[in-house]
Subunit: 265 residues, 4 copies
């Protein structure tokens, strides 16, 4: 039997990919979308490449009151609406799979309690790319055995911040398992400032920015005679859809709030 | 307090590296060696680069009867002696860390029972390179999420067999978690035979042989918009010593037989 | 002063990228397009993302008769029209930059002679990706010094042929400089058929096909103690536009036919 | 007919590799060595792994006066002796292949003139690793087409200086062809200092230091939709011997001084 899905944010970058994915998967059925702008229209009238006549609602309450057989809400709209949509779904006994960010600690605790009361699952994932999450998970595991590690992240040259959020998150996860040490030779000298990269507890982070790149990261662990490298290359937003699909299936079996894909992979 | 170690096979490729490692580690103390050829001599007289006057025995029984404070036997001699040395150590209440191969299923079962009776641990590891074992472990884990995977192994051009044993072992581990599928386009054509590599349950294995290489492997998982790569590069036998060291420490805390580093990493 | 450009094939994959590029470059001016379907219309009426009111002609003769100040024809239509368009341009004293394929040896000789008579340049390039052409050029150069080489090409899993055309072309170029030898150990054995890849004069070619890949190739040369790797990663058709731009500038300075970007890089 | 070779510095790191290489090559014959310490002895008496009874001289004049059929001097001793050995060889009509560093501009000019007068060749090469020299040469060539480039060099963690000399040399060569530009987004921010690496004319250089690495460098060029990477991995001093061998053969055909392998590759 198909899993019935409502998607919030169907015109967004992630949301439009999710629409395509849900329509293409045999086991999923798209029953409605939530879009603050296009109440009463059908999906094909607002996204020309889609030919599904799925109804659009601007109000989630109305949507979930009218659509009686929804299993999962995929929430990919905007931070301002994320909490309201997620809470409303749980109150209707519908499991949320949420990519929206900006939840407070209190909101997360409340949603967890609410989901448990309803005896259903709820997954909130800041990063749906299974490959990226596995890279971080493996890096954290390897850090127990190899205290020497460099992170090299590579992105397109329009990126403003260096290092990337993923690189910083990876360094934090590694730090949980790594024996702290100052890497490199104690007397090493930078003849050109910055050559050795950024320092996080003695480990090093390097940011490459070039046209022709999208989003890439490699984590290199070294010990006598060997290196172990874990690398993720992402070239397309489609890379997030495997994770959304995985969560739609998993949320049906889980109870309470799961925060972060790494906790169910 | 130091861990007292006996090494069997001190003149071998692995054994001589282990001698160096144990002598260099502050927390380890080398108390004797087992060598079928040099009974009664001291280590410095048979390995010129070592200045330790550690006694050498050709018979393990005599050694373990005379040396009263041994904690761990590191067995790196030859398959013919491995079983006898390991069993003798357990009988003396000494934990074996074994790199020798060639144990039968019955022998493994017997050693497990014996170790449990003595209430001590015993570790037998066909591969001590922590990086290689983690690569295989991570590849197996990732295979649950990504059924599309290619293994590329690269070795020096004097290697006789292709694919490498590690590549075959990796493919087997991946198969335990991977949804079987025939990869590539159903109608793909090899215009040059062999281009698509060897086939294992629909996944592909490629063997590169070139001078200038030592022992390298990468496992590449692909899904829409992303790839995840796990890569191990080994350039020196020193890469095994991290694993031997790790096992010497771990065997003190374990009970019964552990077969394979992957089960304690 | 700007270079005045006419583009043939503005609705094609390459042509539409070329339209964007020419419109964005300060030094180029798009004066007309050739399109067999939309005679008399303007560009903005057939490509919604473009706001240029450039006239469209279905006949190149008429176009070049009316447009008096054209410097370069960028021919990216279809093989059937390529020869006619190129010849017509040269007859009008306009330099062609051609990405269309399918020219015969006789046609190439004729176009060369014609261009020389007009004292103008003409560039026909089967591959406009400067990075890919440099990879092949460098691989050919390196082959003079390193007879041991493996080619690993990686593409998306919808590709039908293996190895890729670029890999075969690279092997051919390498063969021009490489001392022929059978690589690997003389007694090496494939325990799984195909592991060692396809054989071209003793060198090896490996084809990876995975979702998440686009078009990638690495050429690895090995000799005692070292490897040299030349790698090209292409993720987008935009990669061809650097080459088209380069040719538009170069064709103004050249005389006669240049076939292949490698001869002017 | 074999090429007769004299090696200066047979006990050094490079020299001892050169001894092995010359003895192993069928077309080369080792006729004598220059060593300030072991005058009158034979090679096998000072290097135990060699069984050649080649005579050793402490004075190059005496050596070249007595040995009548020397074709090439391979000079791998120490900077203090390099100039004297090279000049003496040329004066005897013997072609020098020199890896020693520390020559002044004046000395180079004098040696060039001297070699031309004798109508023979002389090659002085600060780096004999053909792969590394080709990497630099290709990087310089590619820089004409791609102004966006990052250099990532990776070395063992006992290295004191960052970036490596090869990385600095590569950046200098790239600068000869590259259009100067400040890479990355004009408003990019380092949230961790050093993340973006060292800056050389707007291009970036990153230095990785980890145990398990030896000497590696990759040069990555990026442009819209593509990257081109040139990578050299060196794991053993044997990597220099291909270049020494190449120079021994080439110096016989050249006239005057050649400085740098890049000028004859």
């Amino acid at each position: 039997m198909a899993i019935n899905v409502v998607i919030a944010g169907p015109r967004g970058k992630m949301g439009s990919e999710a629409v395509k994915m849900v329509l293409n998967e045999e086991d999923f059925r798209l029953v409605a979308c939530i879009d603050r702008k296009n109440d009463g229209k059908t999906l094909n009238s607002i996204i020309s490449s889609v030919d599904a006549t799925v109804p659009i609602y601007d109000d989630i309450e109305t949507c979930l009151d009218q659509q009686k057989e929804v299993d999962v809400l995929v929430e990919l709209s905007v931070p301002e609406a994320g909490y309201k949509h997620t809470k409303c779904a749980i109150n209707h006994g519908i499991r949320p799979v949420v990519g929206t960010t900006g939840f407070t600690e209190n909101q997360l605790a409340e949603l967890d309690e609410l989901a448990k009361k309803q005896n259903i699952g709820c997954i909130i994932a800041p990063n749906f790319a299974i490959g990226a999450v596995l890279m971080m998970k493996f890096a954290k595991m390897a850090a127990s055995y190899f205290p020497d590690v460099d992170i090299i992240e590579k992105h397109h040259d329009n990126k403003l911040d260096a290092p990337s959020g993923t690189a910083i998150k990876t360094a934090e996860l590694i730090s949980e398992n790594r024996t702290v040490k100052q890497q490199g030779h104690p007397e090493e000298k930078e003849t050109l400032t910055g050559a050795r990269g950024a320092d996080v507890d003695g480990m090093k982070v390097h940011s490459i920015r070039l046209p022709g790149l999208v989003a890439h990261q490699e984590v290199i662990f070294g010990s006598a005679g060997q290196t172990l490298t874990i690398k993720h290359d992402s070239i397309d937003r489609a890379s997030f859809m495997d994770g959304v699909k995985f969560c739609i299936e998993r949320v049906l079996e889980s109870k309470g709030l799961t925060y972060g894909l790494e906790n169910i992979l």
